[in-house]
């Protein structure tokens, strides 16, 4: 479907102002690395010792697994509740003698708010007040659009599966390096999605099960400590921690509130008209299922043609 197969580097902007960001970057709906943004003292202060002292006693739920390539299909990880101090210590090490499942196991935190069964939208100020003032939210959007802020901690090597968020994502890499691979939302039909996640885990060698997967037609960014990666809503991203890492994602609602699911805690529930249209499509499929295969195929293609001509962007 895609006419060009080109690997693009995400452009890097040095010390860009919020005004210039709005004008030149966010309106283009393409990813960008912002270097030299002021994201607060965290880039200087945050390390395992400092954070252990400040928030070490807080219990967090982490992914623990032997394979750094997290696999949501085979669930090659377990969830464990451990103290933040313990997590930081373990995630920093390559080998943990006091392991849970494997001495080379990896750890990954994506902070959530609230107690179990009572999840709320993540908010670093509320969830980690002792360190909140170290982090300055980059004022790239109007504050009213803020959706959530999420603290992430990763062992070296952790790779998080390709997925998209429905909100704009301002990914602040505080400690460590990450490689981000991104795909344009128009690749949705080539990514073999299960909900918001791609079934393809090995993005460099997807295998013959996934012939359309765009191995080359993607964007890449190498994030350094202090870098801010702008990931527009719906852009697919796959993030790999090159070493021990700490990051804060700040999610923003680009659109009017009415478009977002009212009970979306992770920022990954389909937009309301999107969810409705997909649910309505299930009824179209039921109707098509009344037909014998040749006829079903034919009318499905007619339906596809209609969607493509009426709803696809031409550019």
């Amino acid at each position: 479907m895609t006419s060009t197969e080109v690997l693009r580097e995400v452009p890097v902007f040095n010390g860009i102002s919020p005004a210039a960001f709005k004008e030149q970057i966010s309106s283009r709906r393409e990813p960008a690395v912002l270097r030299g943004c002021d994201i607060g003292a965290c880039t200087r202060l945050w390390n395992p010792d400092y954070l252990s002292e400040k928030i070490g006693k807080k219990t967090v739920r982490v992914h623990v697994g032997a394979d750094p390539n997290l696999d949501f299909r085979s669930k090659n990880f377990i969830y464990c509740d451990i103290d933040m101090g313990d997590l930081l210590f373990r995630a920093k090490n390559r080998i943990n003698e006091d392991f849970i499942s494997d001495e080379k196991e990896i750890y990954y935190l994506r902070s959530v708010s609230g107690e179990q069964r009572n999840i709320e939208v993540s908010n670093i100020e509320k969830d980690f007040p002792a360190i909140a003032e170290d982090f300055e939210v980059p004022e790239l959007f109007d504050h009213a659009q803020l959706f959530s802020s999420v603290l992430r901690v990763s062992s070296a090597g952790v790779r998080v599966w390709t997925h998209y968020d429905v909100t704009d994502n301002v990914y602040c890499q505080v400690v460590g390096h990450k490689t981000a691979v991104l795909w344009h939302p128009c690749q949705a039909d080539n990514l073999y999605l299960q909900g918001d996640k791609s079934e393809v885990l090995d993005i460099d060698n997807p295998g013959e099960m996934f012939p359309l997967f765009p191995v080359k037609n993607r964007w890449e960014a190498k994030l350094e400590p202090g870098d801010v990666l702008f990931i527009p809503a719906l852009w697919f991203h796959n993030m790999k921690a090159e070493d021990f890492g700490i990051a804060v994602n700040v999610f923003w609602k680009e659109l009017d509130k009415k478009f977002y699911h009212p009970k979306d805690y992770y920022g990954n529930k389909e937009l309301v008209p999107g969810a409705k249209s997909l649910a309505m499509l299930d009824n179209v499929v039921k109707q098509l299922d009344l037909l014998p295969p040749t006829y079903r195929d034919f009318y499905a293609r007619r339906a596809v043609q209609k969607l493509q001509s009426k709803c696809y962007n031409n550019d």
Copy 2:
């Protein structure tokens, strides 16, 4: 979309029995030329003089146009009510001094039943009883499945636009030669359809407006007098009269009655579940239209992916 770009000749079967047709051909849902079928005395008897004598006084409604390439978009023809005898005389001539619009004008009859505003399903026995016994319906299907029989008369050169029918079509070429070009129903999304017709009129040089149009990936048949062309339902076909021609189409319902529109006189109204699914899809499109372009495109692609994975034939 298509993996192979191959022009295929429609296979010719000589003197095949109805039983062999059912077993080897109709079940495969691919076109075939049946040569040496018994379609009655018409192949011997029918010519303008004979038909003028038998049915010359019957008034019929014909397409008349200066360009033999009939164009449903620009409507490069008019409808005229003339006597069958007059039609046969005019259609046989290359030049008509007593022309209606142009001395080289062409004529094309696709018979219909009933009076104007009160159309019925065509039936050669009812519409042309004086010649009906000359034509033997090839008994390739159960008689209960018979939908309609249509008499066609064409000037040399007349080309009828690419379209599909929802019923199986047994096209009996009685007088003259025709070239038939056909496309598999899975080409539906490449044919730029307006309803049951392709917008592409020049099938050999579609032009840059129609980049996906399968110029090469098509089937071709050269019909001789007495040949029967089996066109399975939904196969697109484009028919060109190489010389003055008379033919009878016999249409058959492959599926149970419930699938067909109860008021379909031409055999081109969408199958009931097909029509319903396309109408339901209009509501999906309305829902998607609530979204800004990037989001609409994204969810449309998700919908397409769902249709493709759930409703397309894999083979």
